[in-house]
């Protein structure tokens, strides 16, 4: 399913980051091709969020390379990485509570270069509100939103910048079954738009439905990689997950 044509959108090699004596990400490497959705799996504490933090510039790697469309971004400031076309959501949702939904999304696009003309920016905000299912809520303070709507708003803000690469950290967690269906369809539609996605996710149905390929981490290391179906039946993966989150698949 994955198209290996041209430079990968994301290419990670030898990535390492330790916190004191704990090596949270250890010699991690993988590549994600244009338009692919790559699942990044692993039990809690295996280093997935740390890996995303390294890619988006929240943390500096101790070693390794991170190439975004061929350009090494390892150790670059977050705002520069964001301007190069990487956007993300956070495991613990982060919206701007003191602002309304429209301003939250505007924050996502106002600082991208070149700047959009105001009218066009406002039109894009309307489109995004509609797309994530928040149409009509544009003047509503983000602090008043329900949990799921906060997730929607955070995604809309990430999409506002028209990213080439989107990192989603357990974005589907905590959704009820019908919301999950909507969420999966939404992410699939992003793929159709040509956005490349790294999906950190515990909801196995979503992983099966969405991911072209998967990388599985355990204790900071990559323990498996390949086509989704193969990876999910891999003996080492099942063992790493045993008694863990695989149950909610």
């Amino acid at each position: 399913m994955s198209r290996e044509s041209g430079t990968p959108v994301l290419e990670v090699g030898g990535l390492r980051r330790a916190f004191g004596g704990l090596v949270a990400v250890n010699d991690l490497g993988f590549a994600v091709g244009q338009g692919d959705i790559m699942g990044l799996l692993g039990p809690n504490g295996s280093g997935k969020t740390t890996a995303l933090n390294l890619m988006s510039g929240v943390l500096r790697p101790d070693a390794g390379t991170i190439r975004l469309m061929g350009r090494d971004i390892a150790g670059l400031a977050s705002y520069r990485i964001a301007r190069l076309g990487l956007a993300r959501t956070f495991q613990l949702v982060r919206v701007l509570d003191g602002m309304d939904c429209r301003e939250n999304i505007r924050a996502g696009l106002a600082f991208q270069k070149p700047h959009l003309p105001a009218a066009e920016a406002e039109r894009r905000i309307d489109t995004l509100l509609d797309r994530v299912g928040l149409a009509g809520h544009d003047r509503r303070p983000a602090a008043d939103l329900t949990y799921i709507d906060r997730k929607r708003l955070e995604l809309a803000r990430a999409l506002a910048a028209k990213p080439r690469l989107l990192l989603l950290d357990e974005w589907l967690a905590g959704l009820n079954p019908s919301e999950l269906m909507i969420g999966i369809d939404l992410i699939r539609s992003l793929k159709a738009d040509g956005i490349t996605i790294v999906l950190v996710e515990h909801v196995m149905n979503a992983v099966r439905a969405l991911c072209d390929r998967c990388v599985v981490m355990s204790s900071g290391r990559k323990i498996a990689e390949g086509a989704t179906a193969d990876v999910l039946s891999d003996a080492a993966v099942v063992k790493a997950y045993l008694g863990g989150v695989a149950a909610d698949a």
Binding site: A77, S78, R88, R94, G98, A110, F111, A161
Partner: protein, 314 residues
């Protein structure tokens, strides 16, 4: 909205024109009081311009004010007045940029402590320099500037600060600062160069404070470090801005005016216990009005009948 903005603009302009006639009243006491009011209004507004949106609490007001005052003490007799002001502003801006670049990566309480320490550091440096190099303990300020001149300069600076604050609030930089105040990590991921935005605003705010110090200096005929770098100013400005509400451009003035009058009264009546009273007022404000007078007004406007935060039905 635009009609309302124009109306408010016209009102503000009229107010400034009227205020320009205060020195014509010919009452020295009122003029002195008006100078104090303007001084604290500008300082508190400038403080709020940076600390309001970013929520960084700065105690460096005195440091910049003192640098401005001392620039006048040293250069006032040698150079023409506009040039002295220009140099003071430049010194304040350079100092602020250096301090900003080295400290705005600090967060919360570390920043507060650093800015407080900075004031002491600069004061001690000035003392050391004066004693060992210039061999003087204090300086006489001989410049040909009247109280009315001081008042008019402060009034012009007040107008400039409000205009600047209004322009910034409507700009991309102003929006960036609000996002930073909400969540700095998100701000960075939105592509905001947070260090630049914070240093820029800190520098603008500090330059204004330095100018206030420079303009005020001729009011004293004799300056020494303990007068120019009186850390009380930092605390008073902080209290005023918090009482008024630093999240609005027009907030700090609502705190500066009543508190300047109150402080004037208290320091005359109770010179010895003044600082204790100041501390108590500070605690009261933080407990009773966490969002300041401006927040109180907003709450009243949003009460039944008002409509500031209407909910949109889905």
């Amino acid at each position: 909205m635009t009609a309302r903005t124009a109306g408010l603009g016209a009102l503000a302009l009229a107010a400034f024109v009227l205020l320009a006639f205060v020195p014509r009243l010919g009452n020295a006491y009122y003029l002195a009081l008006a100078i104090s009011l303007l001084q604290y209004t500008v300082l508190a507004t400038a403080w709020g311009m940076f600390s309001g949106p970013t929520r960084y609490v700065s105690l460096a007001t005195t440091a910049f004010f003192g640098v401005g005052a001392y620039t006048v003490a040293v250069l006032g007799e040698i150079l023409p007045w506009p040039l002295v002001l220009l140099i003071a502003a430049a010194l304040g801006a350079i100092l602020a940029a250096i301090v900003g670049l080295s400290t705005l990566r600090l967060s919360g309480v570390y920043f507060v402590i650093f800015t407080f320490g900075l004031t002491e550091l600069i004061r001690q440096l000035v003392v050391w320099f004066e004693v060992n190099k210039s061999r003087v303990l204090g300086r006489y300020v001989f410049v040909d500037i009247t109280q009315a001149d001081i008042y008019w300069q402060l009034l012009a600076l007040t107008a400039a600060v409000f205009l600047l604050g209004w322009l910034i609030a409507r700009s991309r930089l102003g929006f960036a600062l609000r996002v930073i105040g909400e969540d700095e990590t998100v701000a960075k991921h939105c592509g905001i160069n947070t260090t630049f935005a914070k240093v820029a605003l800190f520098t603008i705010s500090a330059t204004v404070m330095t100018l206030v110090g420079a303009i005020m200096a001729p009011r004293w005929t004799y300056i020494e470090p303990s007068i120019a770098f009186n850390s009380m100013i930092s605390f008073q400005v902080l209290i005023m801005a918090l009482l008024g509400g630093a999240h609005r451009l027009w907030g700090p003035v609502l705190g500066a005016v009543p508190l300047t009058l109150l402080f004037e009264l208290l320091s005359a009546r109770f010179p010895n216990t003044f600082t204790i009273i100041l501390g108590c007022i500070f605690l009261l404000i933080v407990y009773m009005l966490p969002r300041g007078v401006a927040g109180l007004f907003e709450k009243l406007a949003a009460a039944p009948g008002g409509k500031t935060t209407q909910r949109v039905a889905a």
